[in-house]
């Protein structure tokens, strides 16, 4: 899973020209920036924001899929779904660790998620209402995530780039798994096929929105691109995704819900109809079907788990004291 293009980044920076030029020279030479290296404040802040947003997306993304674990139609599907969600949680863990290499704790960024200050991918504010949605999330949402994340494997910040290599491998497995769910539905009864089409209808446009606003609207793309955090623009990534995905929909015998979708000989890619950006911003701002429930679920888990975390800390402290006492004797 992954979030749309970074929302609300503040990449302002105040270092002197010489420092910035030296830093940029390292970036231009494709050197990886590592945790203890000097870096501009803006670079650090952008990364913390982006990686935390990515981590939160993994964690919130567990909810719509978790919603189907107890109702998965076969034991094989149930096991695969649990394993997939577990992978997403694992991605969250590496990414929070990557944030920590930049000097910000997991607790700190978690608090920002819980308070509603930090963003996560808006796609997870859409409800997963049928089993076909589990297929569509794997195929389209993880598919869009892979498209976003493959260039991140070459991101200038070392820990993030390395985390992405492993994450991409797992995501590609998830995407095939999602597609395979839909293949089964499309080869099944009329009712199953209709379920698959309905899922594509609902997830197609939100998946395209995952790449973020058009390049012409994007306010912070250029600095991120200069620092080689972001390497390919939102529109280019979206175009690549559409071009890869439309033939997959055709293979399934499903119709992409865009009457203006058309092959463009010149660009050798598909042109698409207009994206409803009002809907996108409305969901980002909290007006999606599931925004409130998602945050409530995260807050509930956090609040109800407080006594467990307190007990674990208290026990760790007592154990440490006991060890010290034994060592002293």
């Amino acid at each position: 899973m992954y979030s749309q293009g970074l929302i609300g980044a503040d990449d302002s920076t105040h270092e002197d020209e010489e420092f910035l030029a030296r830093f940029q020279a390292r970036i231009d030479a494709e050197e990886k920036i590592e945790p203890n290296d000097a870096m501009p404040q803006g670079y650090r802040k952008t990364l913390v924001r982006q990686i935390a947003q990515h981590a939160h997306s993994e964690i919130v993304g567990m909810l719509p899929e978790g919603n189907w674990v107890t109702r998965a139609p076969t034991l094989k599907r149930k096991a695969a779904l649990i394993a997939k969600i577990q992978d997403e949680g694992g991605h969250g863990l590496y990414l929070y660790s990557a944030v920590e290499t930049l000097g910000v704790s997991r607790e700190q960024v978690t608090q920002e998620l819980l308070s509603g200050k930090a963003k996560y991918s808006s796609i997870f504010n859409y409800p997963a209402i049928t089993w076909a949605d589990i297929g569509a999330i794997g195929w389209l949402v993880d598919g869009a995530a892979i498209m976003n994340q493959i260039p991140l494997c070459r991101c200038s910040y070392g820990p993030y780039a390395r985390a992405m290599v492993r994450v991409c491998k797992e995501e590609s497995f998830h995407q095939r798994q999602g597609y395979e769910i839909l293949m089964m539905l499309c080869a099944g009864s009329d009712e199953q096929k209709a379920m698959a089409q309905d899922a594509l209808n609902r997830w197609w446009w939100p998946s395209l929105m995952m790449f973020g606003p058009h390049d012409s609207e994007s306010t912070h793309g250029s600095q991120s691109e200069k620092w080689k955090i972001k390497r390919i623009s939102n529109d280019d990534l979206r175009r690549k995704f559409v071009t890869a995905t439309v033939p997959q929909a055709e293979f399934l015998g499903l119709e992409v819900p865009d009457p203006e979708l058309k092959w463009n000989e010149k660009t050798e890619s598909y042109d698409i109809g207009p994206i409803d950006w009002d809907e996108f911003w409305s969901v980002v701002k909290g007006n999606g079907v599931m925004n409130k429930e998602r945050l409530e679920a995260r807050n509930k888990a956090w609040d109800e788990g407080a006594w467990v975390r307190e007990a674990a800390n208290a026990f760790a402290l007592k154990s440490q004291e006991r060890e010290q006492l034994e060592a002293a004797q």
């Binding site: 096991a79 949680g89 788990g305 467990v308 007990a311 007592k318």
Partner: protein
């Protein structure tokens, strides 16, 4: 011979149902655990439980010889045809209840798999050998949490004591004897399960002692027991979710 197969089928179903229903309960934590690490751990244990259920049901289907698949057995039976322990149906409630339920079951399962790994039935012994390794991890996980919570804060100690009280009436059912078990022991399909109860109490007492939990809490009147088809009110709700797709769209491939 038909009788022997009936007994083995019944035994595999009991074990399969224990693992399926406990896996179902654990999977309800997915995305809601107290820490991210526990989200992963509980999902992982759920995954092991579902995996073990799959092996057991697949083999049960072969033993029965009526062409029923793992999914037919998992999803298409009536409430009274599930022969699991009531313990595994108990609600997740808070993390303490989930941990104590898991501790009770996993200590039992590890001991049982150890016995079954020398079963005269080759297939069952293979399933047991694999499951035993997984169960020993589950014991480690739930024992460590029992100790942390028992010897953590006042609140965690109170919650763990409450969880022990809730689950204790369902201890005896794990060790109940009946004619099916007796015949399986006689024919060498399962080893001597009579030793399970004492071994279980020794393990639990050790863990409780480190966790500063009073073992007197274990002494209580047993509820349920002697398996076939007895359930709590939770079972119908569990099945309503578990079977939803298979019941709504009968005969489909997924």
């Amino acid at each position: 011979m038909a009788k022997a197969n009936d007994d083995l089928f019944e035994y595999l179903i009991r074990l399969g149902d224990d693992h399926l229903i406990l896996g179902h309960r654990l999977s309800q934590w997915c995305g809601h655990a107290p820490t991210l690490e526990e989200d992963l751990a509980l999902s992982n244990i759920a995954l092991d439980m579902i995996g073990q259920a799959r092996s057991l049901y697949t083999y049960a289907g072969e033993v029965e010889g009526k062409g029923r698949s793992e999914d037919d057995l998992a999803f298409l039976r009536k409430e009274h045809e599930y022969h699991n322990l009531m313990l595994v149906e108990r609600a997740n409630n808070d993390f303490a209840h989930t941990i104590i339920r898991q501790l009770f079951f996993s200590v039992y399962a590890e001991l049982l798999w150890e016995i079954l790994s020398t079963s005269g039935d080759e297939k069952l012994s293979q399933i047991a050998a694999k499951a035993r390794k997984e169960a020993s991890y589950h014991v480690r996980h739930s024992a460590q949490w029992t100790i942390r919570l028992g010897d953590g804060t006042q609140e965690s100690a109170a919650r763990i004591a409450d969880a022990v009280k809730t689950m204790a009436p369902n201890i005896q059912e794990m060790f109940d004897d009946d004619a099916v078990l007796q015949r399986l022991v006689q024919t060498g399909v399962i080893g001597d399960v009579a030793v399970l109860k004492a071994a279980w109490h020794i393990s639990i007492a050790e863990i409780f002692s480190t966790a500063k939990i009073d073992t007197d809490l274990l002494e209580t009147v047993a509820i349920g027991g002697a398996r076939p088809g007895r359930h709590t009110e939770s079972m119908g709700h569990i099945l309503a979710e578990l079977q939803y797709m298979q019941r709504t769209y009968p005969g489909c491939q997924w």
